[in-house]
Symmetry: C5
Subunit: 105 residues, 5 copies
């Protein structure tokens, strides 16, 4: 899995029928950036599309699963989905320091 | 999934029988490019081949699925296909701004 | 899928039994290169090994499938194969221009 | 599989139900770095999230499996997990030299 | 599949039970390097861990399979393994030239 920030959403009318009603989010993977003693979650400039399975929204920092494992949720089972948001992240702790907290954003 | 633009098509006569009648598209993945306050969908220079499952054509901006999930459509089930176009994108919205609209191209 | 040129072949005597009789090809992925108004299929310097399922040979430009989908051919079913040649490419057309033709090489 | 160091952990409250009770670790892949005659396991700056299946903790050097194979453990079976820690590494030997030893850290 | 050289091995005591008795090798992917008219198999600096299924050892040049296909051998079936050595390479021929021969090393 990887950590990403939701940046927006995608609308498609003409699509495979199994995708009807699926919420499509634009996500950007994040990495732990270490500068001196400080750490933060930094953007990567990459861009992917994931189905939301938990009610996430723009700016949320989320946990994302790829590949065949992305079909292991109720919303994505038996669909042509290879990327799914499976959790909203509360905190990220790196070497004992809280690098990210949802409540402090 | 990822966003791509269809750039053209591929013709193969000598091929695995299960691929007969499958439409093969050349696609280029796109990324969200941020410049100052403006945003656009920018090309990456990468190149892949996807099966079309929805009647997409050259220049369309589309949603693409990879891996085993690419076999989860009627056109690709039980075939040696690892990349499929599953939707034509109408709009992409990033942080509240409409970054792409099919009608404005 | 992706487009590749076959560069040569690999011989292995000591191997998993299921691989007996499988033809192993060295392949190099190609990308569409745009220079001014001209376009060509350019080498990437990358190197992979694929099983041939259709009688392809050195210098052929071919269509290649990866992952679990590479096991969806008669020659690769139930084998530890993750990359297979599924077609010999006749023509590649990008934005209306014929970028590659087997007959003109 | 690949070698990684555990850097910390991730907490998510709002998540897919199948992920309840799964321990989520931040991991950083390592590579063998050769300098003159010396060798060490060097960080890559990359960042992923894996489920722990064996009681690993921060700073452990571990063995990690990705993709559908990440669902082949008791803790991850039938879950939307694509990355799992499957072993704590005791020693890494490269060309006869012990490049890493858990006991010497 | 890809070509790699075995560089060493990994020992893990605390691990998922299904991995008991599996031989873990450190491998480095190789690429065909072309210099003038000469060609050789060059190291990439990348580093992965594969299960050996055929009795390979340090310095052998081998054929490696990834993903779900890595579970299609007797030693790796039903295990959390995503990378397996499936053959020891005797010769690699590129455009008619023997680029690698096991007997000449």
């Amino acid at each position: 899995m990887f950590i990403a920030r939701i940046k927006g959403n995608v609308v498609t009318t003409q699509k495979v029928q199994a995708m009807t009603g699926r919420k499509l989010m634009i996500i950007e993977p994040l990495v732990v950036k270490e500068e001196g003693k400080g750490r933060s979650m930094a953007p990567t400039g990459r861009c992917m599309v994931a189905v939301d399975s938990i009610g996430a929204g723009t700016d949320d920092v989320v946990l994302v699963t790829q590949g065949s494992s992305a079909r292991m949720t109720e919303q994505t089972s038996e669909t042509p989905v290879d990327c799914v948001v499976i959790g909203i992240i509360d905190t990220i702790t790196v070497h004992g320091d809280q690098t990210y907290s949802k409540n402090k954003e």
